[in-house]
Symmetry: C2
Subunit: 406 residues, 2 copies
């Protein structure tokens, strides 16, 4: 009953079918926009009750590392795209050889899959990245430690997300033990110089196969324990010059790497030797991204609609803002789930903040799990940030962090 | 494969399930908002490929005039609501007797089902309606014709929509023949005095079972051959006093009739005996309405989210505007369907107007059929109206009505 693969009743004749590999909240929110465009997505889902599978009528339950499963969901679709970066490159190349339209192309996508490949490529095109090195031995790690004065970050080249796959050893012994253990476990590694971070920014763009590129305003993002917890659009207090450099950098990367669909360029903002704000690339994501959720309510075209338009090679949409500032605050499962049901917590938020836009992912509680986000728009950055955080916090804890009662 | 009734994988534990009777575009657009709220709707659909059924994972294919079908879809749902007004009152009363939460209640809904009942009730509460009469014979019709100086409109009491079930006989012979034929066919009738229309307005509100009421700004709506083709929000050039009277009228009706969910009060604007603008109620709809589609892009809370919030007795959302003016233009199937596929027509619209929000219903072409709408926001009413109409027209005819080439 839950595997409805190839259900012809899920699509209207003559409209494109977008196959999405992955069943998380990004696929779910693509479905929202697909519906309004008169389409619907076809899903390769890992499980029938997953976030996106709950809301789709054409689901194939399968494994994205299995080429036959990928073939089945791709068959007859106008384009295949992703809600994560974990599909093996060789499978994508095989699909393309069979005539399947895959967007983004694996040659671009590999830069969001392999952190070392990405940094080498970005250095080639002149994009700023912190000093880095491939780590294939404890000796490599030790040499890099010395070269950067001990400010080392070790990263798994593949598979990391939300703070997973990133380590900050504090001395050389810890570094050696860590690298030895990881290499023994078969984890390909790289090292990067730790940046003296002022804050994190995110520059998001969309690019279509025809080459059109549209950029959203750069936003400030806040990470807590490696997980994005807040995005503020546009980035508060950023100079026009730095904002423009950030956007142009993302546009250049999209063009040079021939990215298609939406891409997030996560940036470090730091102070250069003269004390002036500067940027370097932290990570790339080639899909809708947590730092772009604000676009659902904060501007004319959301990242989810834009991603669909881009991979289908439609003209891209306006990103004019709906209000002066929009803040996205993530809702992460707390240590325990309050007795008050989520539906009542939503009511609590709306009673106090009728303009709060609640987006939930159809996920049950687990500590630290992303289960939704709040978008709140306003005129005043500080007040809007505070209020959005209060709302997100209330959805997690069923009480107001500022002591408000009601 | 298409009847997925009761699919537990379509809903996340702990979140409310909303059963929607009907499978049209209104149910489809409710699903869009339900997804973002972390819910999903359960559908009583007439056919598996219908507009809303395409995008839902919990569908029961059945008949809304069959009580057992209604029972099956209602079972376990937190609330039952509608995308049309055609469910028999006795069935709704039966469901309620069995403990089902039906919103709006049949006592309210009957006022959107029976045009005569509605007018009597509105007259009771002091709401302005044009002169009207029950028509149970040709003699009744003739008497009413005389009483209003021949300015007669005949309406089927039930089942009319989009200009169906409304007649404008031009003389008494035509009136008599019409009424005789309709009564012989068993159509319950009423007559109403034709209003010397200046324009049509629509005042939309939402009311929750707890009694909270939120009103959107009153809009101007344009009907072509009885079908809504355009809505302009807020209504251009309306005096503050008339706008306030319109909104207060809708609020009063919602309160007095104990409406729950979204209600559209379609209004006639006409000149009173002193030449001043005045209003009278034309029709009521107790569900999201064509004249409220602009809210999807023009304000913080769309009518579809608001309807879900209202029937679930959540606090209602902010209706603050995103821009100065938003125009909704309907896309109605033309006499023939152009060879250029709809996906290419969408591309054509977006090439010229990157801010056009296209909403399609997953429906195939049929002359005059509502297959979608465009929302366009801007600063200038006249320009935005012209552009929205151009976009809608292009989606129908695959050419620009103003001669633009590109």
């Amino acid at each position: 009953m839950t595997d409805t693969a190839g259900n012809p009743s899920a699509h209207v004749p003559g409209m494109p079918v977008v196959a999405v590999i992955g069943d998380g909240q990004l696929a779910r929110m693509m479905q929202t926009e697909a519906i309004e465009l008169g389409q619907s997505i076809r899903l390769l889902a890992g499980a029938s009750g997953s976030s996106a599978a709950q809301v789709s009528a054409d689901i194939f339950i399968g494994d994205y590392t299995n080429l036959d499963d990928l073939r089945r969901v791709a068959q007859g679709a106008d384009v295949v795209t992703f809600d994560h970066e974990h599909v093996p490159t060789e499978h994508l190349l095989a699909l393309i050889a069979e005539g399947i339209n895959v967007q983004p192309r694996p040659e671009a996508l590999v830069n969001a899959q392999d952190k070392l490949v990405m940094r080498k490529r970005l250095r080639e095109i002149g994009a700023p990245v912190p000093p880095f090195a491939a780590i294939e031995s404890v000796e490599d790690a030790g040499a890099f430690f010395d070269a950067v004065g001990g400010a080392v970050c070790i990263k798994a080249r593949r598979g990391g997300y939300d703070g997973h796959g990133v380590w900050f050893p504090t001395d050389k012994d810890e570094l050696s033990a860590l690298v030895e253990k990881l290499l023994a476990a078969g984890t390909p590694l790289m090292a990067e110089k730790k940046v003296a971070l002022v804050r994190e920014l995110s520059a998001m763009v969309a690019r279509s196969p025809s080459g059109e590129i549209v950029a959203w305003p750069v936003v400030e993002s806040v990470q807590t324990n490696g997980i994005c917890t807040e995005a503020v659009a546009p980035a508060p207090g950023i100079s026009e010059a730095l904002a423009q450099r950030s956007v142009e950098l993302a546009q250049t990367i999209a063009k040079e790497l021939e990215v298609t669909g939406v891409m997030a360029v996560e940036l470090f903002e730091f102070a250069d030797s003269a004390g002036q704000p500067d940027i370097a690339v932290n990570e790339l994501a080639m899909r809708p991204h947590n730092t772009g959720h604000w676009t659902q309510d904060g501007c004319v075209t959301s990242q989810f609609e834009q991603h669909l338009r881009a991979v289908l090679d439609y003209p891209l949409g306006s990103v004019a803002l709906n209000s002066q500032v929009t803040v996205m605050a993530n809702v992460l499962g707390g240590q325990s789930d309050p007795e008050l049901p989520m539906a009542k917590r939503m009511a609590g938020v709306w009673t106090r903040f009728p303009g709060a836009k609640i987006h939930l992912y159809g996920k049950t509680h687990r500590p630290g799990r992303k289960i939704g986000h709040i978008n709140l728009s306003g005129d005043d950055v500080d007040m809007t940030r505070r209020e959005a955080q209060l709302c997100a916090d209330y959805l997690v804890h069923a009480r107001w962090a500022d002591g408000h009662v009601g």
